[in-house]
Point group: C2
Chain length 108, copies 2
Amino acid sequence: MDNLTEMLKGTLEGCVLEIIGSEETYGYAITRRLNELGFADVVEGTVYTILLRLEKNGLVQVTKRPSEQGPPRKFYALNDAGRKELATFWAKWEYITSRIDKLKEGGR
Amino acid sequence: MDNLTEMLKGTLEGCVLEIIGSEETYGYAITRRLNELGFADVVEGTVYTILLRLEKNGLVQVTKRPSEQGPPRKFYALNDAGRKELATFWAKWEYITSRIDKLKEGGR
DNA sequence: AACAGTACCTGGTGCCACTGAGTACTAAGG
DNA sequence: CCTTAGTACTCAGTGGCACCAGGTACTGTT
């Protein structure tokens, strides 16, 4: 599927929040996870910008740990603000998908 | 629901395409339709920029007709390229929603 | 030494929804 | 008669986000 970028605005960040929320993990692994989920064209640069933004916005707790396979990893976990933001994301997602589905079914 | 703007990137244009595709209509009415569908904060300026973009991209056929209630209306109808773009939009939407739902269900 | 895999960072770009202000026409109310 | 509200369209500018392209750096294999 090509050129999803515009439709991913806002949702990709939510996906990253969800991934972090389900398990403490790091940028490189998050990228691999998104790729295997079907977001095949998402590259590391994109994920890192999201992670830096999450950190800047105080939604995650960051822990640096050494890796046996390369440079140290930065592990991310949601804090309270992050969990709240994740809940808000899913509420928005629910809201938008329900409206779009209504529109698609020709609902009036 | 507040601040959906980032998540509407790409999808709002698709919604407008769908509305036009189901019935030849004009900007002001499209705005009202979106509002009643639940996109309450979408204002005319936003819709008109989308309509001008659709026209510029050759996806719609435009017909100006007088109105009894104000200035003349610009009616929009999809052409072949527009119908194709609409189909692409729904394919992308399907694709993304299925991946997000999988993620939400903790799918691996 | 060279390379591939792992792991992270960053300045710049383009697209899109949104803002805010403006134009213009009609009908109703004070 | 003039103001207001409703209808209807336009457009220059803003900000946020995914993306691009290139960089750094560590480890293990060839």
